[in-house]
């Protein structure tokens, strides 16, 4: 019987989660070890974001368990199929985040706060890929960022790296 924990989001929603899944978070793992996690574990993460975090953790957990159960026979082909499955899952996950940048933003903060290095790395790479090939103005529009450079600064930047913004 798996040990379950109850996580409480900042907007008071309760998530019942297996210990193994949630222990990927170094922050929560430490809370459990320190004995601070009796009853509900309160987290400074919204329910919407926490659901996404758990979606990620479950997928990762799923992958680890399957690998443990494998024997060597037929493993290579299986691994290849699994890699395809994971890629597909990750693409879908990325697409959802690209479409809702507020969730992406909150998820970045949450992965940092919960100390989930694999998710953090995945999200940073996602943002890096999103800005690739775009001009500063396009990036600002994409993330709804205000241009806070003074005209002088802007001029200096353009002069310094003028060539980079060539088509």
């Amino acid at each position: 019987m798996a040990i379950m924990y109850a996580l409480k989001s900042s907007d008071n929603e309760i998530f019942e989660v297996e210990q193994k899944v949630i222990e990927q978070s170094e922050t929560i793992k430490k809370m459990i070890e320190d004995g601070a996690a009796t009853g509900e574990i309160p987290l400074q993460v919204s329910s919407k974001t926490l659901a996404k975090v758990l979606e990620w953790c479950k997928q990762r957990q799923h992958k680890t368990v399957e690998n443990e159960n494998d024997d060597n026979k037929g493993k290579r082909k299986k691994e290849r199929d699994e890699d395809d499955d994971i890629k597909e899952w990750e693409n879908k996950f990325s697409d959802e985040l690209k479409a809702d940048k507020d969730v992406l933003f909150d998820l970045l903060l949450a992965s940092n706060y919960l100390d989930l290095p694999a998710l953090l790395s995945f999200l940073c790479q996602l943002v890096a890929d999103m800005v690739a090939g775009k001009m500063p103005e396009e990036i600002r529009r994409m993330f709804n960022i205000e241009n806070d450079f003074t005209p002088e600064e802007e001029k200096a930047i353009t002069a310094e790296h003028g060539w980079a913004f060539q088509p």
Binding site: L108, A128, V131, K134, R140, E146, D148, F165
Partner: protein, 398 residues
């Protein structure tokens, strides 16, 4: 509440910046807003030497201070105001230029930052020969220039050059008053052809196919032999069969892939040759390359040489620059190709093309595909000069 991406904390922005591969994207990232700019510090740029190098074109006749950097993957060029390079012999390494002026003064020049560092004058070379002091001989005196690291990154950098008629090796380190000539530990005659810096060592190859190492971590920096190209008698099959001057090869380049694996690149066609047998009209032009993988066997101080037709998807850049290679998937260059520029001074200096007086180097350029032996052009315009023919510049962005 909507997310405020300009207030994302600095550490996370740095993590994002570190994952941006292309320098154009990295710079655009820093142009978004103040907080993003603070994360786009060049020290956070992790793919510094991986992008497409640019071709520094020969100076144009019209303008003396403007120079053009041609981006062969985009097909566009960018003007840079570079009066410091005017009327100078130029060589390039790690994004820096070595310049030699009419007074034989030598400098390092960073083309984007306009940073200039004075190096000792050519007269400080040990066997500087006044007999060749004619101004135009600047084109010949230093044939190769290699920086260990960018002087902006590392204070204790080293500059290594191949110089003089007999192609010797000399180096400079900050605060030295003169160039120091290095002598091979073996007593054989050498004429150096290329230098490659790797892991605190300078690897050099001479025109007899000998590879030597100058270890700069210790006291004795003189080159000692670590590998020799097998002799023709023993390994007739793998040696270029058209040897030009006795047992000397035409032109060799060197790259170091790892502590044990080196690639020696042999270029053929750079020597002037009669357009047809008996003719006194000469031509030159690269028609072939061969790449040998040399494995250093430390146990027996011997080496194995194998010709390869696959550069592990890398591409090699050769010319008046220090030889380097790029992983094609990041830089956007074609895999398993040799991008070559014109660097054989003796050929482009003298009358070489039918019916024309020499105009300088810049004709013998192209992209050689090692898999099928084909050659295609990379720059289609005309760009020629004696002192500064087109050459590759690795943009270091330091």
């Amino acid at each position: 509440m909507a997310a405020n991406w300009s207030e994302l904390n600095h550490d996370l922005l740095v993590e994002i910046a570190k994952r941006i591969k292309l320098v154009d994207d990295f710079i655009a990232f820093g142009g978004v807003c103040k907080s993003w700019r603070s994360a786009a510090d060049l020290k956070n740029y992790m793919f510094k030497y991986n992008h497409m190098p640019q071709l520094l074109l020969a100076p144009s006749k019209e303008s003396s201070c403007q120079r053009e950097f041609y981006n062969i993957s985009k097909g566009v060029s960018r003007q840079v105001c570079l009066p410091e390079a005017n009327d100078k012999k130029i060589l390039s390494s790690k994004g820096w230029l070595l310049t030699i002026d009419r007074n034989w003064d030598i400098s390092l020049l960073h083309p984007y930052k306009s940073v200039q560092i004075e190096l000792p004058n050519i007269r400080s070379f040990e066997d500087w020969n006044n007999g060749i002091s004619h101004n135009i001989m600047r084109a010949f005196f230093i044939e190769k220039f290699v920086l260990s690291t960018s002087p902006l990154e590392e204070e204790d950098y080293t500059v290594m050059v191949i110089y003089g008629r007999t192609r010797k090796l000399a180096y400079f380190k900050p605060r030295y008053k003169a160039w120091i000539t290095l002598r091979p530990t073996c007593s054989k005659v050498t004429m150096f052809s290329d230098i490659f810096y790797y892991n605190k060592k300078f690897y050099v190859v001479d025109l007899y196919g000998r590879i030597m190492v100058c270890d700069f971590s210790g006291e004795n920096r003189n080159p000692s032999v670590v590998a020799e190209m097998p002799s023709i008698d023993l390994y007739g099959g793998i040696i270029p069969n058209e040897l030009v001057r006795g047992d000397v090869l035409e032109e060799l380049y060197l790259t170091v892939v790892s502590d044990e694996v080196l690639w020696v690149i042999s270029r053929r066609g750079v020597y002037r040759r009669p357009i047809e047998p008996g003719s006194d009209v000469y031509i030159y032009g690269t028609y072939d390359f061969q790449v040998f993988e040399v494995k250093l066997l430390s146990s027996s101080s011997s080496s194995s040489w194998t010709e390869i037709k696959d550069l592990e998807n890398k591409s090699i850049f050769v010319g008046h620059n220090s030889t380097f290679f790029k992983a094609s998937h990041i830089s956007g260059c074609k895999p398993n190709c040799i991008y070559f520029a014109d660097d054989f001074i003796e050929s482009y200096f003298f009358r070489s093309i039918e019916g024309e007086n020499p105009e300088g180097g810049g004709r013998d350029m192209g992209i050689y595909n090692i898999e099928d032996g084909s050659i295609i052009p990379h720059f289609k315009g005309k760009s020629v000069d004696f002192l500064s023919p087109p050459m590759w510049v690795e943009l270091g962005f330091d």
